[in-house]
Structure formats: C-alpha cells, structure tokens
C-alpha cells in the first residue's frame, strides 16, 4: 500500500499533542529527520516533531518558509478552512467540540430529541411491517 500523504512544504497537518492540540498548521520547512518548521495564521512559527503532527489530505502552494502574509494569502486561495470543515475528519471534530460544550439543559434537550426521533422511526417501521404482513 503506497503512502498518499507526504511531509512536504505546504502540507496541512493537525497538531495531536501538546499546547497547540487541535490546531491546523502548515509545514513550511523541514528541520531534520524528526522535526518540521510549522506555521499557522494565528500562531508564532515554531518547530514541531513529526510525531506531534497528523497529516491531512490538504496541501497548499507555498515556497520554503514564506512570510506570514504570503502564507495567509495562500491558505485563503486554497480555501483550507472550507476544505477542512467539509471533510469527514473535520466534520467529526466539529461535532466532538459541540458535544463537549453542551450544557446540562442542552443534554436534556438532546435526550428528548433522540427519544422523539426513535419514536418516529419505530412508527414508520411498524407501518411498513404492517404493510408487508
């Protein structure tokens, strides 16, 4: 099975450990075998071990170590945010964050909605069963 996501300049990655956990960053340079120089619009450019990065499918077109403004422009042209939020991985993360931030009252409302949905599904199923019986 060949690799599909490569460490390259312009590869968008998700930080999976440490202070910047959950942030989307762009690899702007490779320091050595283990580390990359990494940058994001709202972050100071820093080095990170590859082990802290989870590579995504998204890649942008930049030269080695671009200026911050160039990076931001390139990210907007490639629509990194849009692509990420429409990807199934990105959507999952958004849902996880939403669920974690639910209030006690919100959780109660979700429970009521689930029961209502389950009831509606069961009713339809019963109708279908009756029709085929």
């Amino acid at each position: 099975m060949p690799f599909k996501r490569f460490v390259e300049i312009g590869r968008v990655a998700l930080v999976n450990y440490g202070k910047d956990y959950g942030r989307l960053v762009v690899i702007v340079d490779v320091v050595d075998q283990n580390r990359a120089l990494v940058d994001a619009p709202d972050m100071v450019r820093c080095q990170m071990n590859f082990k802290r990065l989870s590579l995504t499918d998204i890649k942008i077109d930049i030269k080695r170590v671009p200026k911050k403004s160039t990076l931001i422009k390139a990210m907007e042209e490639a629509d990194v945010k849009g692509k990420w939020e429409n990807s199934s991985w990105g959507k999952k993360l958004i849902v996880q964050k939403r669920r974690a931030a639910l209030n006690d009252f919100d959780r109660f409302k979700v429970m009521l909605a689930k029961i209502k949905r389950g009831g509606a599904v069961r009713q339809e199923l019963a109708k279908l069963k009756k029709a085929t019986a």
């Binding site: 974690a100 639910l102 209030n103 006690d104 009252f105 109660f108 409302k109 009521l112």
Partner: protein
C-alpha cells in the same frame, strides 16, 4: 552621672567623699529636710492561698469573627441548581437568594418537582449555567427565622399517657406556609413556561449514565 575616670582596673580616680559631692546626694538631702526621701513601699499583697504548680498564662477568649459565607460566582439568582444530597438528591431546582446564615434559598417550584421552598447548603449543589428570569418574584419574607423549628411544648404526662403516641402534636404544615409557596411559585412558573422544555427539565432528576465523565462535563 558623668563618666568616672579610673587610674587602673578597679581603681577610681575620685575618692569616696569627692564622689558623694559629685552625685549631689547632699542637695537632695537638703531639699527634703536632712534625710534622703524614702519611697513608700506598696502595701504587701495578702499571701495567696493557692500557688499553681505550673506557670500557665490565662487563656484569652478569641476575638476572631467568622466571615460571611462567600457565594460561588456561578450561582446567581435564577440559576438552576442540581441538589446532590438529601431527600431531593438529583432534583433540579431554582435558586432564589442567599440567606444571612449562608444557606441558599431554593424552590422546585413545588408543582413542577415537589421541592418546596427550602434551604440548602452551597457545598451540596452543582450550579448549571441555565438561568431562569426571577425578576418578578418576591423573596423578601423568607429568612432563616421562617425556617426555624417550632419549640415543642412540654406537657406533663401521666404514667398511662407516656406510651400514648397518638396524643403527641401532629407535625402539619401551617396554612400560611402553603400559601407562601403558592404565591412564590405563581410568578416563577410563568417565567419557566416561557422557555420550551424547561418545565420537563426541572421535573426530571439528574443522574450519571454509562460513559459520562463528570469532570469533563460542562454544567
């Protein structure tokens, strides 16, 4: 007295008579008619009957005053609280105000979940971020004295009546307390019914289910 000079260790330069003159005792004697004024000895105290074995300092009563109970910043009037202990464990109630004793005044409302107007300790409560509009509710008349226990009247019982438990006064809620509950809850219910699902929410008890991580849950 000015410093005395010395010839050698232990040998003063001035003689006894010279020193007497220098000290001026003759002037003090002349002032007081020939003799040095004797200080009056204070009257000797009567010998105490008892001497304690150890020298112990008498204890002073503490002058420290307790501070008023600090109300958690997340608890404001109208907050929905989850009771954690007691008869109404798990019930979601509405917070009204903090009483002078530091306890929190809460109500179900009674019609919604059976919790009457009651006092509750802050430490046995989880504050949720859900708030109810409490501006129309008057809680002036509720204070710690309202909840004080009624003093039982001690009546003498004859031997036959000692085991007669029927005659003991029955603990029934006085009518004025029931009326207070009704008036308190009337305004509150209007505010609660304005929010969809809030009434059923307050009627349901809170519990932890499988997979719940209370340290990660946002209340």
């Amino acid at each position: 007295m000015a410093s005395t000079s010395k010839l050698s260790r232990g040998i003063k330069k001035a003689s006894r008579s010279h020193m007497y003159h220098r000290r001026g005792l003759w002037a003090i004697k002349a002032k007081h008619g020939g003799s040095f004024p004797k200080a009056e000895k204070p009257a000797a105290a009567a010998e105490p009957k008892f001497y304690p074995a150890d020298d112990v300092k008498p204890r002073k009563p503490s002058t420290r005053k307790p501070n008023p109970t600090k109300l958690r910043s997340t608890i404001t009037p109208g907050t929905v609280l989850i009771l954690l202990a007691g008869r109404f464990m798990g019930k979601r109630v509405v917070f009204l105000k903090q009483l002078k004793s530091g306890l929190l005044l809460v109500t179900g409302p009674f019609k919604v979940n059976g919790v009457p107007v009651r006092r509750v300790n802050q430490t046995y409560v989880i504050a949720t971020s859900t708030k109810v509009d409490i501006s129309g509710v008057n809680v002036e008349k509720f204070d710690d004295k309202y909840f004080a226990r009624e003093k039982k009247k001690k009546s003498k019982k004859t031997e036959g009546e000692l085991f007669d438990t029927e005659k003991e006064a029955t603990k029934d809620l006085p009518q004025f307390k029931k009326d207070d509950q009704k008036t308190l809850d009337a305004e509150l219910l209007k505010a609660i019914e304005a929010v969809p699902d809030l009434k059923t929410y307050l009627g349901a008890r809170f519990s932890l289910r499988d997979g719940d991580k209370p340290h990660e849950m946002v209340f």
